[in-house]
Amino acid sequence: MTMAAATEAREAAAALRRVAAELANHSLGTYWRSPAKDACEAELAALERSAYTIARRLEIWADQEGAASARAESL
């Protein structure tokens, strides 16, 4: 069960990294000129950072689950 959980967590982390990349790649162009654009870009950057952070924590959790699973299967 834990190996499956680790795999699930890694896949969820990969999905989060794709979301972060999508946020990073979104261009707001050059014609929208207002303080709102700056605020929006800051919010997007914060979302991107959060997505990467959570993805990394999921990967760490998956590594630990995977290690426990491998030990269980070896016994």
């Binding site: 967590a9 969820a12 760490i60 269980a72």
Partner: protein
Amino acid sequence: MSNGLVVTTAGMLWVSEDEILALATSLKDVQAELVRVNQRVAAIQVSERDPFTEALRSIPAVSLGPIVGLLERLLQDAEALGLAVRHYAEATADQERWRIATWEVPRERLLSLMTVVLGRGDLSSAVRAGDISPAAKVFLGNPGPHAVAVESVGPGPQSVNRATSLSERVGRIPDGENPIRIERYQTPSGSWESDVYIAGTQHWGLGSSAEPFDMESNLALVAGVSAASLVAVQAAMKKAGVRPTDRVHYVGHSQGGLLASRVAESGRYLTGSVLTVGAPLGTAPASGSYPALAIAHTDDLVPGVAGAQEPTGRTLIETHSGSSPLDVAGAHSREGYAHTAERVDASPARDSFPRWDAAEGKAQTFSARREGS
């Protein structure tokens, strides 16, 4: 947060509602993906209760609880930003529509466009009565923000050889129900280039319609503000996978040419070139360093409806269409311009525009409808 996003830009024509709606669409996709991730991670927690595994752990198990909490907060933040952006888009749409209705935009340009469809019911009577503000409203209707649903047509990307001549390019401009065609090519250096083909006006009636490529969009684009068709083109580019780092070559007929010019100038992508035929470009100068070529028939009414050309770096080629004097549609037709492009291909004037290398790539066409229609 929404208060921080509402802003007025008095006197500026470029509020870029299309940029904002593109972001709103992107955030909608992000939210949907985050919901799926949340559900997956929430389901994982069952494994933590496996006592056998827990007994074998060399270090204490890390709880998923805090991660789930962070995910929920991330989803809430994404939803809040999406909501704020949609509210901002609505405010922007109202503001741009108001500017047109009150003729803050150059009215002689709008009037020249209106003359193309004069004689149609209450619009002509409004203009004759000297009250042109209601006339503008007749055009614009009240469609709300320019939310557009764009769908890929057919089974998916199809293999295609790149069009290398002007006539081939004009011939690939779509017509009918699927007004946007996007071809993507990988260069020998590994970078990507995209060729974006954009059709002209599909619906010539007054007011707004389910069709984004309509007269409302024409009027808005000539006026220099955002339009549903502009939103559609950028949404299709996003769906096709065109990235900000891609070099994009635009080809457009009529309203499609105006759209091509507007997207090329937006700075959202690296513009490789812009080729337009029969497009009303008076209010859309080419100010970038990219090559831009416009072909216009001297007997075609449409290129002139946007008024005199503002200073531009675009090369203009003018010639008679060869149509009979009363054949207005023939002078503006895409087929007529494809024949003219053949003449340009065979002439020294061809050297005023760069050539494209032959390549194999993938092509997709897209339909577009106003949402809620």
